[in-house]
Symmetry: D4
Subunit: 248 residues, 8 copies
């Protein structure tokens, strides 16, 4: 029930064409969302310039094309994550304007490039193998209207490389830090900056990394107080939250 429908109902009551018991009955059964004005408005406000997102993993290529095509009818920016090369080829052939990023498996339609974030988001990663996850974060943060800078390959075992980037790190309003293996980078970065750090454990590693578990546990136990954590390989989620923070 939209606001208009509710207004109509009240008008009917006022005019006497609907009696109170009947009105009561109709209100009693109206679905919740029709009253959720604040929420809807909020969402509308929130979505200005923000992308629609399709999580591509496990979806059939033709389905991805169909969903993305529909979203592109009303959204400027659409982000598709984790698709295979085969799906990417179908999407970019069928839908003009998409850019495919093979490392992270993302496709981005970025037609509205207005910057809405108030500061810079930094995306940092520990090793070259973490770049796919960092790329997903960077692409997401950009398409959500942020100025983004990236720093790659600054793992804690080469601490001077990280320190050489300390000025750069201090420029960020919020940082996304991706690391696999022991996942120590967010702690080191967290200690060097005063802004929030969103840590992304990656599944990079072998043996006792247990597909990212080691990095995940490490980040959850970070001795740096400004670190929060998202799921393994979830570059998208980290960038999403970073964007929310950067809009504040």
């Amino acid at each position: 029930m939209t606001e208009e429908q509710l207004r109509g109902l009240l008008d009917e009551v006022k005019s006497g064409t609907l009696d109170v018991p009947a009105a009561l009955e109709r209100v009693r059964h109206l679905p919740f969302e029709d009253l959720g004005f604040a929420k809807v408005d909020h969402h509308r406000a929130l979505r200005h310039g923000m992308p629609e997102v399709v999580f591509g993993l496990g979806k059939a290529p033709e389905h991805v094309v169909a969903i993305a095509g529909k979203l592109l009818e009303k959204a400027d920016n659409v982000l598709i994550t984790r698709v295979s090369r085969q799906t990417a080829e179908l999407v970019t052939n069928e839908l003009p304007g998409g850019e495919y990023f093979p490392l992270s498996g993302a496709i981005r339609f970025w037609r509205n490039r207005v910057v809405t974030g108030k500061g810079k988001i930094g995306v940092v990663c520990a090793g070259t193998s973490d770049i796919p996850v960092a790329e997903e974060a960077q692409i997401t943060a950009e398409v959500m209207g942020n100025e983004v800078f990236s720093i790659h390959d600054v793992g804690v075992a080469g601490i001077h490389r990280l320190l050489n980037n300390s000025q750069k790190l201090l420029e960020a309003r919020v940082l996304v830090v991706c690391a696999g293996m022991e996942g120590a980078l967010p702690s080191a970065v967290g200690g060097m900056v005063g802004c929030p750090v969103i840590a992304v454990p990656t599944s990079v590693g072998y043996g006792a990394s247990f597909h990212g578990l080691a990095a995940l546990l490490g980040m959850l136990n970070s001795c740096a107080s400004n670190v929060t954590v998202v799921n393994i390989d979830n570059g998208f989620g980290a960038a999403y939250v970073a964007s929310l923070i950067n809009r504040i």
Copy 2:
């Protein structure tokens, strides 16, 4: 080496009382932190009105008194977390002005109550057993200079209680959401608001909760994109990051 010391060294070089090779040698070996002006400044800036924090778990009562006493000499606000009742009694007897919170085991010296956070931080918890963790978050957020509101006992199994608080939730600039057992509350809250949600799994539960593991995994897999996670029972850490976000 302080800035003053470096200035002195350069003055000596300028005046000729120190030759260049000797100066080079001294600079070469100066410790890193002495040059870390930006960092120090940054930290100083960061700490305006922020508390010094003592992690009390496992520290002897007399040590907690000693550390806290020292910090109170130069800091307005000091927060001590996770102490026993016995330690709390000693601390509050020895050091005037401390308030003990027995649920969370925190002691707070809150002498500077200037509000520096720009919006409100909401602290939400699922059940009454989660209140100790929520209390730690609330105390922390307050002593870090934020306006804080709390909503207790709004677990997802009574979704109407949560919905009754939807207006309240929308007032927050950032939310800390604490839940044990299945840890589902951050997902539900995350879907109702547009701001960042920092999820705190609690060790509340038994059996297959595995001391908070179930809640932790649930939160890491949240289908709400605005959720990040901290360690089990880490109300302090969640509030710390929330405070950073609220200062931006």
Copy 3:
């Protein structure tokens, strides 16, 4: 907003003392639960003859007394689970009519003994060490208005003892089966009956039982199709669902 309040609002609109925009505004902001008639009714219906339940674990004795005292003012039956002997003494001293079950740590106020369940609920356990959990299930099922029978010590390693009870098992409309260690009993029972079996893994065991994990995994992998599972040691939950089924 109660139904009465909403009726009043509509009456005001009808009579013209409240204009439509003002009415709209009031409806727009009314909290959700005020419209949740069905739910409230449903709950009220559901609760006929059902106990109020207090989960006692970790609650201070005086709090348990206070909560239970309040509930007893309006509820006939109150069940308190998992309290220490110390709490039990306080409760039974302060609140007349409570019966303490030291094995399971439950206290039961059972003033309305009307049977509302349509058939019998059987509570079965594998070994004598599982009896505390089985007792919690039995007490719960009884106070929820069911006829209950119990069969103890019929673990699969003495299969003839179980078979001797096959006629009894077939009398049940729904069964609660508790077992620790390897947790095999629900599978064996499930194969002997046609009714739903609710399996309760118990934390009975040592070493590789990992506090009930072995039994839990065993039950989740049951090759009997009529088995569902609840949390480790959750005799209450199993009996609660059994009661729901027995009321259908």
Copy 4:
């Protein structure tokens, strides 16, 4: 030894053609099942209108055809679960009347469509990726003689979508709720209804979902008391128990 055989034996004893020691010897060695009349009768009663089920995973295509063919000789309804497309093609080519459901990998022969369940079974799932498991549940519940309705894509992060379906949910006599990732949906649904909820964790997710473990643990720790749990992805088992409940 059938009842007839035992009667014959007793007749022989009575008539004197068999002496007591010889009769004793024959009874002593008779296999158990021959005396298990009640059980056999019970099973026969239970199976009226119920399908025979073939668990297809890991079986060779030709074996599935052979087993299903044999069952179809005497059973109206046969359900085959978890077969590959290749197996499905062979089965549907060889055995007329089978319908293949590629999402869940099920094949259903549904020749007797009598409804024996007394109420409706609702099958609910959190996200579109959970549909294969929900489909398995729906197909199973239908072929077991139930009226079934489905609600898809009502995860807790969009709580208003779930609430919009609250009337529908209340129509069910028993609910099957499927969710992956954090597995929070059964708790939310459980709090909205008074009927039993059978929760099915799905393996949907990545990283710290650990192939459904996160959802499984979440559901086992549900704070809603009317929730029981089956194995990961076990849509069949959930629907089987739901059908048992719906027949009561």
Copy 5:
């Protein structure tokens, strides 16, 4: 129904005092165990000279006394495992003839010392901390009628100590090998002998021993083909199986 009862029934049928339908009815409902002659006989045979066993862990002292007292009325040998010193004192005070072993917490009543095992059982342990488990095994094997020898403190990190005992090891008909920490001893012993080795992981260790998990996994993965494994710290179970083998 005992054999005598069944014989009586057949006699009645033969004599005509019981007609066939009535006899049929009585047989139909007789409980299973009454027909379980083989089993009962088997058990009786099995129990010659074998102890009755009481698993003491978690049982109240007075219960242990009561159970043991009852068993001692008809059994020569009674073994009580895992009791506290307090329970042990009560038992040995109340029931004459019991010997308490404080390391393993066992009490043994050993009144029939006939040796029924055909060879020797060797009980081997890796370190002095494993002796409590080894002691439980030794006591059990002895009271079950076996000649037992023990070898202590022959862990693989001092392989010469083990090799010095190689002649002794070869004397055993079956070996029980207890080890904590890395649990490597059964593999080494298994390679030195040709008899069956029953491996008992112990909970000895700290940190990554995870309360015996490391030893358990090690033993399950033994590269010696003659090794089987029992639960962590289950010296009793290992000795029980060793005794069965030694009687063959």
Copy 6:
């Protein structure tokens, strides 16, 4: 150094052709195994009629052929486990007399069929999916000189099928019991017989079976005292130990 060599050395010392220091030096450096008479003899004795075994998993087809060919030169019986169909074809083409068992992936050369085991070994499995593991056990036990019988598909959820085989089970001197999913069969079988039961967890199952972990834990926690356990899917190892027991 063989016994002959040592005798020769002593003869040389005695005759004076070797002086004592030189003899001492030679003895000091002799490798250990040369003195390991007992062990070698023991092994020789042990191997009478026993097969040589090749663990095929992960070995290249041509390597398997080479190793098996060499072993067949001096051994009557050779067992190759866990080879692919491709390897099996190569082996059986190159080496006459081999029989391939595709379910378990074993190849058996069984040229000496003398029975050396003193009783029967029973191989029991819970479901048809466990047959590959049971087959590996059966083939192994046979080629090691035992009379073997098999009982398939007697899982605990159809307990009457198991009970129908109780006479058969009692014929065995030792039992190998294979089960996946909840792994409950060894407990049930263990309670029905008095002989040792070697339990083999299988990786059969899905979801919370965690590739056999559920069955493994269940078996380790068996409440039947006559059960020991081997690694997941290790039919070979179980049969090997069963053969050792059956030779005693």
Copy 7:
């Protein structure tokens, strides 16, 4: 800022062309690494004769060729680990002088064969399936300038094979010991020698080896005090540390 740059700055201060505040400002912002002389020198020293290493796992063949080609321009020795046969063919075709080791998947360019290690490194492995990991260790240790010997197939279940190599083991200055399954070999070896033992758990095994976890835990719990551990299958890392020790 290199040392030369800093010297120039000081020269400018001395000569008066740069005043002290400006100099201070420039020093204040100089990046850290410019002062890291010691570290750079240290690294240079460390790298004399040491190989450059490319971790090949997951890198595209053409990238491996490009990286290795670049490194070969300035380094004598280059080691590439964990490449597929396809990558190996491309590399060895494009870059002359590389030797491919198919078991371990390593490619080695070994143009400077100067031995810099002061003693011998021994590489020991338990079974033939562990050879790939041992090979990676051996190749690494050799290309890092060490004399290396290897001992294969000396698992603890055939302890005499290990003992036959005791003289050889004592020749090593440091040992790398690789083992899968129960991972017991490092403990046995550690007890036989006085030098440091670096243990490498391998992923060899099945079932409860959990991809090397059993071996890893076993080695971490070694009762031999001279054992340290690296990641599962990390032959490279073990040899790297062994080389560091051997250079001391």
Copy 8:
């Protein structure tokens, strides 16, 4: 059999007082260790100035006194680890010269303070809570004859504190690095130095540290190649290996 005994035997053979078969028999049964000259010598050499060690955890106070008293009769230095204050008081009262370290629970008798290590061992820890483990390492390294320096509280979240100690770190010949929580310090240290780093995960932390598991996994996955790992809290073991390396 000592070398002297063997020489005597050969002398008897030479002189004819012992015939060859009798000599053969005696040699055949001599225990292994009697021939283990090299090993014994090696051990003797190894033990010059090294302490005897008593692992005190779980030992009764009087046993610790007895063992330590016996060792002190022939050893200059004795180290007792992990004893309670109560045990420590008994030991230091009974045995003069012992020094008790309450943080780590160690007692040290250090009567021979000759330094045999060739360089310095550095013991580094991340936080003040890790000091007990670091202290155990330091005490061990000292009593084993090494010059030791310690650096405390240099966790990666305050990287400048670590960098300030870089010169100090470079002085070490081998480093022991202790860290709990995320366990990141060994990676950072490992990247700053060229010597071997022995990482000790500590059980410091809470929640998802899982008693040191997070730190352990982190260290095993270290991206610094010069890091090896010991068990959680095993400061002794790390120092023991460091001492071996420092003697080379």
